[in-house]
């Protein structure tokens, strides 16, 4: 049983809603997935699909009002985070799960030196104090390849470029020595060449220190570079989860096929295949399958009945939320049965 | 064009008030105050300027002092004048001073501010230096110097307050024009070949109007307060005319045995200014064109 991947973070039936003036918005609607130790799980979806809310819900950082996690459980290394009192939850943040946010410009405190901000993470999560903590912080600057770290230690965030700030964010997250690192679109506001540098750094760090990463992104190119497994979100639900190679070669959900296809089309030239219609409006979600108004394969049942989250392959590796998975009619039925029996 | 089927009326006022009952109540109170002030004689039978000395310093009561007369609901003052009547007529002065100063200030300030914002360059620099100097100078004392030299009175009080009334509007109008002028909206206007006139009147003006309304409401509150302060010190309207600030100033000697002379005008100033502030806040939150619409 040595080679069996060991789940370190598992999320079950997580739902988070925002209660706004005009009604309830189900930002995350009953999602379940797990991350194995040492792997990179990419959480992919368009804006508003609930990726960031998922991350914040896991860390219990949804602010009420207006947001609230309604149901679900998050188990980190055998510990159910949703049952912890807030004071203990604080200890989980950082040393249990650390997070890199998407906007490096605003994610650092403008009135504190970057050194102090890294030191803070070191002091809280590694228990070091004073000079020792400072040494550690400088070491972390070295780890993320910041030149002349002793000098940079005393810089304020506004004195650094966007790419540098994102490196600092990575340094802060790593200083927490987390079991799981959540990276929320860490490169989406950076220029392409800087994005390449940051991704390269993350790849190298992953090799150096065996990190478990949940990588949130909307760019399938980054998924292809980084991910081991991929979870696709649509309108607050997980609609497909599988390993990265299957996802690119043989996606089962029509939506996944649509977004993967657009990359290939781009290379071929000629007209691009499109997913017709508009992204869902969370205020007015369709009945049945959330994707059915844009789906070319929809049938009557899709409009009325919400598909269950079913295991496609039978070995627990490929899950999908669709009545008619592409090119897998038989297996899907088997999966359904399996699900029904269990 | 494109006005025919109006299924979704976006500017329906009631819909906008739905989420802010406090602002709605404030607006109703303000309207009531205006109505009572305008139709003052309907609401009181007593003269605000002359009283019966035998009736002086009467506490509020619901019993009529004599046959056929109406009761002094809010009591009488040191000269036997009906406090309610003085309150209602006093509102005229307070509101008039507030409105005149705010309107004139807005007209001057918005015009100058828009010129500065639209033309930039020298015009902008000179105007903004003037505003800076004004902001760093003791405007209240300069206003008081006017009052001293010209003598106290309603007209001179308005002149004195006017000195400082335009700067906030000017800053506000200028910054709004600058924001809108640099926006993609105006750029797209240029790109489709719309002339300056069309851009200013069709696109810039309607989009800066609501922050300016907010400023106007807030400044109105500010000047009503300022009038009360100066009248309290005796630099505003002169007796026997009534104004809220003056009533408190005159009545404060009698505070130990006739609290009502001072209490009610203070409450009136408080309510008016408070309601204006609440309505102003609401306009800012609800109509701000730069805030992202839900």
């Amino acid at each position: 049983m040595d080679n069996t991947p060991q789940s370190i973070l598992s999320v079950k039936d997580l739902s988070t809603s925002f209660f706004l003036r005009d009604g309830e918005v189900k930002a995350v609607d009953g999602i379940s997935f797990h991350i194995n130790k040492g792997e990179v799980l990419a959480l992919v979806g368009e804006s508003g699909s609930g990726k960031t809310v998922t991350a914040l819900s896991i860390l219990r950082l949804i602010v009420w009002p207006p947001g609230k996690t309604i149901s679900g459980s998050v188990v980190l290394d055998g510990q159910n985070l949703f049952e912890l009192p807030m004071s203990e939850m604080r200890n989980v943040r950082g040393s249990g799960i650390a997070m890199i946010l998407q906007e490096p410009m605003s994610s650092l405190n403008p009135s504190m030196t970057i050194g102090a901000q890294i030191m803070e993470a070191v002091e809280i999560n590694q228990g070091l104090k004073g000079q020792e903590a400072k040494q550690k912080a400088i070491e972390m600057l070295n780890v993320v390849r910041i030149p002349s770290p002793e000098k940079r230690f005393y810089n304020y965030p506004h004195e650094l470029s966007g790419g540098m700030k994102q490196r600092i964010m990575i340094a802060i997250a790593l200083s927490c020595q987390p079991k799981v690192l959540i990276a929320d679109e860490p490169t989406c506001s950076l220029d392409v060449t800087i994005q390449a540098q940051v991704l390269d750094l993350m790849k190298q760090l992953r090799k150096e220190i065996d990190m478990t990463i949940m990588f949130i992104t909307s760019d399938l190119g980054i998924v292809a570079e980084m991910a081991d497994r991929v979870a696709i979100m649509y309108a607050g639900q997980l609609i497909e989860i599988t390993d990265v190679f299957t996802l690119f070669e043989n996606p089962a959900h029509p939506y996944t096929k649509g977004i993967v296809g657009s990359i290939h089309d781009m290379k071929r030239g000629g007209a691009l295949n499109i997913i017709p219609g508009d992204p869902p409006n969370l205020m007015h979600l369709p009945s049945g399958c959330k994707f059915h108004p844009r789906c070319e394969h929809r049938q009557e049942i899709c409009k009325t009945q919400e598909p269950a989250y079913t295991n496609l392959a039978g070995d627990g590796a490929h899950w999908i939320r669709c009545h008619f998975p592409l090119g897998r009619q038989q297996e899907a039925e088997k999966g359904d049965q399996h699900d029904g029996n269990g | 064009m494109a006005n025919k089927p109006d299924r979704k009326k976006r500017y329906s006022l009631m819909v906008r008030f739905r989420h802010n009952k406090v602002a709605f109540v404030s607006l109703i109170i303000l309207i009531l105050i205006f109505i009572v002030t305008i139709f003052a004689p309907v609401f009181t039978s007593y003269s605000p300027t002359s009283g019966t000395l035998s009736q002086r310093l009467q506490a509020p009561s619901f019993t009529a002092p004599s046959e056929g007369a109406s009761p002094h609901y809010l009591g009488t003052d040191q000269q036997g004048r009906d406090v309610l009547s003085r309150l209602i007529y006093g509102a005229r002065v307070s509101l008039k001073v507030g409105f005149v100063v705010a309107i004139v200030g807005a007209l001057i300030g918005i015009t100058v501010g828009m010129l500065a914002g639209y033309f930039g360059g020298w015009t902008d620099m000179i105007i903004m230096r003037l505003v800076d100097i004004q902001a760093s100078s003791p405007t209240l004392l300069i206003a008081l110097t006017f009052v001293m030299v010209l003598g106290p009175g309603e007209r001179n009080l308005i002149i004195a307050l006017l000195i400082n009334s335009w700067t906030l509007f000017c800053r506000m109008a200028r910054s709004q024009v600058l924001i809108i002028r640099g926006s993609a909206m105006v750029e797209s206007g240029h790109a489709i070949g719309a002339g300056n006139k069309r851009i200013v009147f069709r696109h810039i003006m309607p989009n800066i109007i609501s922050p300016l309304i907010t400023t106007f409401v807030m400044e109105l509150a500010h000047f009503i307060n300022a009038e009360a302060n100066l009248s309290f010190l005796g630099f505003g309207v002169q007796p026997p005319t009534s104004s809220w600030g003056l009533m408190i100033g005159e009545g404060r000697q009698y505070i130990t045995n006739a609290w009502w002379i001072v209490l009610f005008p203070g409450i009136m100033i408080g309510i008016t200014v408070l309601c204006l502030n609440l309505v102003g806040n609401w306009v800012r939150e609800e109509f701000d064109p730069l805030a992202v619409k839900r």
């Binding site: 950082l61 605003s106 650092l108 405190n109 809280i124 | 004392l141 309290f232 100033g249």
Partner: protein, 307 residues
């Protein structure tokens, strides 16, 4: 630009402001107003008028008068007060400390009350404490201070007899006027602290801090507080300047506090032109120096500001 150079620039601007204010005051008192008419009784003869005009130097060309006025002002020589018959500068200097004490105390009270409450309200928007604070701060800026003073006096001095109604002397005399004056700045300060704090708490760096396990109290006071200080200082500084610059007058009058505001009121009632000129000049200098101090404080709280 270096700090020193920036301060020099600001001092130069201060000179411009003071020059502008002086010219304005001169124009108001000498062109719009007529000092001779004010000083002489109504039935004064034409000879008396001419004599006084010459004595005051008002027969000279207006520009020359202005020149004399400005050069005297530069030497802090503002002439003799018509009302008190002593040099104006002495009168102002004598009254200033009492007002500075009162206003400083009022602002301290405002800070002590408003900042913690503003932070508490921002931490739980919509809670009871938030609603109370929002309502209270609106009252603080809406109610006229002289009326608040009278009501406090009615309750605590007249009714309960705990504190004296007016005058100056022991610490007990200063309580009521200082508390009264504190309402307005406290209202402003609470509003701005609440507003800014809500913005800060919703910002990404607070999320970063939370995600690395920082305690909430540390987030509030170590991370966020420093970032709202510039706005708070701006607001407090502007209120301080306004209070010293004459807004304290009504409250000083209510409580018989012999300070600068009270002096201004008396000056106007006594039509003392030179004294009022001195007062305006003084406040102008004071406000400018205060603004300079605030600018220097900015750089301390916000590392992005470099002069």
């Amino acid at each position: 630009m270096g700090m020193g150079k920036y301060i020099l620039q600001r001092l130069a601007f201060t000179v411009v402001v003071i020059l502008g204010v002086s010219i304005m005051i001169f124009l108001i008192t000498h062109v719009i107003g007529d000092p001779v008419a004010v000083m002489l009784p109504l039935q004064a003869s034409e000879e008396q008028r001419v004599a006084l005009t010459a004595q005051l130097g008002l027969d000279k060309p207006i520009l020359e008068q202005l020149g004399i006025f400005l050069s005297d002002a530069a030497r802090l020589d503002f002439g003799i007060s018509w009302w008190q018959r002593v040099p104006c500068i002495n009168v102002v200097m004598e009254k200033m400390p009492a007002t500075l004490l009162l206003v400083t105390l009022a602002c301290l009270i405002a800070v002590v009350v408003a900042i913690p409450l503003g932070i508490a309200a921002a931490y739980k928007p919509g809670s009871l404490i938030d609603r109370l604070l929002t309502g209270g701060s609106l009252l603080g800026i809406s109610l006229p201070p002289f009326w608040i003073g009278l009501m406090l006096m009615l309750v605590f001095a007249v009714g309960l007899g705990w504190l004296p109604t007016s005058g100056i002397g022991s610490w007990r005399h200063v309580v009521l006027p200082a508390v009264t004056l504190a309402f307005n700045p406290a209202g402003h300060l609470a509003q701005i602290v609440r507003f800014e704090m809500i913005q800060q708490l919703a910002s990404n760096y607070v999320l970063t801090a939370r995600s690395k396990g920082v305690k909430e109290i540390v987030i509030l006071f170590r991370h966020a507080l420093k970032n709202i200080m510039t706005s708070a200082i701006t607001m407090l500084g502007s209120d301080y300047a306004k209070l010293v610059g004459g807004l304290c007058a009504t409250v000083e009058v209510v409580f018989g506090w012999p300070g600068f505001g009270h002096l201004v009121t008396d000056t106007i009632h006594n039509l003392d032109f030179p004294l009022l000129q001195t007062e305006v000049f003084f406040v102008a200098v004071f406000v400018c120096l205060l603004n300079l101090l605030i600018d220097i404080l900015y750089a301390f709280f916000d590392p992005r500001i470099r002069y």
